[in-house]
Symmetry: C2
Subunit: 462 residues, 2 copies
């Protein structure tokens, strides 16, 4: 058993000290690759510390790729050496680079990228490359490649009826990068209201970027204008077309009320339209940006949900006043998206590939979604669940009739190799109801469904 004198750690937190000592043992070879580590509980007892502390140390080592977690088997020293690797560049990716493998992952934001027309993308890439180094090497305007902004403008006009001239579009390296830019645009200490429950990265990025996040609770229509007026917020970040994680759709009168708030207070609304292309039934509501007559809305979206999260491209449409401010204050930032991707994406849009891909995805996800919902509705636990969904997006809510607290459900799921997300995971200030799961189904396959229901039945069992 690993034995360390914890009194030697000085002011270092125990978990950090423990992680460091284990890391050293791995680096020196004292703990050889493949060696099984003691269970969290056993090591905690042995060292006289809490299980949570050992868990934190193991989690850190796992994140570093130093150890591997294997569901139901425990923790092992990773295969790859950790020292500087000077030779053997042809080696396959070290196994320690991967995250934990789950038999069933209902939390992953993975979209099923097998639906992506790789061949078309590859062909366009080859086409751009065959035209010489220009596309690869010539400088890109800081706002993003002009032809790409024109295509995005045309797409927004055709697909969503939005008026978004290329001059007011800024291309950015994914949603997180754009949150940083918006925080910098709003200035240090800006008070930004965010949805609670909500997508945690929004709060994390804004807070890290110097903004002050004010979580506001949601009623049946989203953020309430009264709560907003009572708060010190001057900006509001929302996803009115399909809120994450609740799935709420903000109705038109509420949208108008929020716009009135912005006009009257000189505030801004950031409309984060992250998955609005994936609506499966009903007519989409017009975006806030299209009914904003006063230039108070920033519209933002990415290609992560619809193409791939590993292609970091998104864009913002800024209202005239903020666009002027961006040009004055932030135009020194180079566009962080490589030129090649911008050229290829522009052609992917102009050639109609993107719209065709969206149509296919909607069709396939609609059908997958329906199969997933059927599987739940005919599962052994069907009588104890209620499904809340609005015919949109890649997730829905599932309310479970149970006495078990969420933490207990999660422990059970963990032991079965099942990754779950709870509504309560996404709440900051306002406690969310227990026993409500957020089911992200985009990474599932139909073949997996019987086994998935079997695993969930074990987790949910009384």
């Amino acid at each position: 058993m690993l034995t360390y004198d914890l009194s030697e750690r000085g002011s270092t937190p125990i978990y950090e000290y423990l992680a460091r000592r284990i890391r050293e043992a791995v680096l020196t070879g004292e703990l050889p690759a493949g060696e099984r580590l003691p269970s969290k509980r056993a090591l905690a007892e042995h060292l006289g510390i809490s299980v949570i502390t050992v868990e934190a140390a193991y989690a850190q080592l796992e994140a570093e790729g130093c150890i591997l977690a294997s569901p139901r088997r425990g923790y092992f020293v990773a295969e790859a050496a950790l020292g500087p690797r000077v030779s053997a560049p042809e080696a396959p990716p070290a196994p320690c680079a991967g995250p934990r493998h789950w038999e069933l992952d209902l939390r992953g934001s993975r979209v099923d990228t097998s639906r992506f027309p790789v061949a078309a993308w590859a062909r366009l890439t080859r086409q751009v490359l065959s035209e010489g180094g220009g596309a690869l090497l010539s400088p890109v305007p800081h706002q993003g490649l002009r032809p790409l902004r024109e295509e995005i403008s045309a797409f927004l006009a055709g697909y969503k009826g939005m008026s978004a001239p290329p001059e007011r579009i800024v291309v950015g390296a994914g949603a997180e990068f754009m949150y940083i830019m918006l925080a910098q645009l709003m200035g240090p200490g800006a008070a930004v209201a965010v949805e609670d429950p909500g997508y945690p990265k929004i709060r994390q990025v804004y807070s890290r970027s110097g903004a002050r996040c004010i979580p506001l609770p949601l009623d049946g229509g989203g953020v309430s204008p009264e709560a907003l007026r009572a708060s010190p917020a001057r900006s509001l970040h929302i996803s009115p077309s399909h809120q994450f994680p609740t799935g709420l759709v903000t109705p038109v009168p509420r949208r108008q009320a929020l716009l009135r708030w912005a006009e009257e207070t000189g505030g801004y609304i950031i409309e984060d339209d992250y998955d609005s292309e994936l609506r499966f039934s009903g007519k989409p509501l017009p975006t806030l940006q299209s009914i904003d007559g006063a230039g108070r809305v920033v519209y933002m979206n990415t290609f992560s949900q619809t193409i791939s999260p590993s292609m970091r491209i998104g864009y913002m449409v800024l209202p005239p006043e903020l666009m002027d401010r961006w040009l004055r204050e932030l135009d020194f930032y180079s566009c962080a998206v490589p030129a090649l991707e911008q050229h290829v994406l522009a052609r992917f849009l102009s050639g109609g590939h993107y719209e065709r891909h969206l149509a296919r995805m909607r069709k396939e996800y609609r059908s997958l979604r329906s199969d997933v919902l059927s599987a739940f509705r005919s599962s052994p636990f069907a009588g104890r669940i209620e499904i809340v969904e609005r015919g949109a997006g890649l997730h829905f809510l599932l309310r479970l009739d149970t006495d078990l607290p969420d933490s207990e459900l999660r422990d059970r799921a963990d032991a079965e190799g099942v990754r779950l997300a709870f509504l309560s995971d996404y709440s900051a200030a306002h406690p969310a109801p227990e026993h409500t799961l957020v089911i992200s189904y985009a990474g599932l396959s139909r073949e997996q469904l019987p086994r998935a229901m079997e695993l969930l039945d074990r987790v949910f069992r009384k």
Copy 2:
């Protein structure tokens, strides 16, 4: 002549109001494409405002792509319509997207990308794409693709004798993005000492990201440890191998003194090694990171200088303590570099293409540099200049014996279609000497040199 009632502008600054009115006139077609705008001086007189105000309005409209500046001919309404463009996706990039064309640009950070082995890069890209969608679509660890970090680690070991295990490398979307991450890692309000004169983006990004920049003057060895100790800074951002813009190389004893400061105060040194691959004579000094025994140095570099600025890929090597902090606090950020570029760059490194490319670039730039220096030394103004250079990098200093102030030299250069940079442009708090030009020669061709000397002679003429 454009006539506007400036009293209608309310509290809007004049330049902004003027820009808005001209923009409207362009949008409505009142000012048709190709139309010449009045000269700055003429419009200023006509409206009874200062030339500087008109200049600010024109600069903004130019940045927006609304108007074009043509050297010695004036300003023109840009060709492209500004409204949302819904059709004609095959149109070539609108001319209004481009920046001003200079006959001679000695300020540009453009590297000569014609030297880049586009064919090899394209081949590797095709190879990665031919292996299916995996490289395009599968998720990338937040620190960056493991094989890429391994290759960077091997490159740093082989090329610079550095020990930088892949576990402590973070891949980022270019230098600016990494400055943001470092500011967030150091925490809000962190006091960061920066070189003065220095690369302006460092100050801009840090300040916008909530850090407090403390510009410190440079003596013959760089930042002085005494000035550092007298300042409230807890971090220091420097380029000891070849400072921009002075070209200073920090000698070893000074490096050791700076490391002592970091050790004694618990501070960090950010070693921004932006162009150290381009040393043309003498032996490179070891990096600060390699002589740092106490884990106080963050090493950072990009591929912008050596491959292309439009491929936004850089990396940081964090010391253990900061790496732990990054994993705890910032690992929620996705890697902002697309997966495809990471795969291709990893192969570009492992196949030896990068080292061969560096060797070729060094050879070609060495020869170009020598021709540029000869051209200056045999120019009509050779007797009035002193060249300051250290056999490294893509720029050098040129001291001109003149009575003209820098502003007058710039105006003259402007009129000749010549873009100049002065040492005084890069100073924040500590005034830099006048009459010292920063010559960036990487974008020049040999053929251009006679004409360049002719143009400069006109600018420098007494």
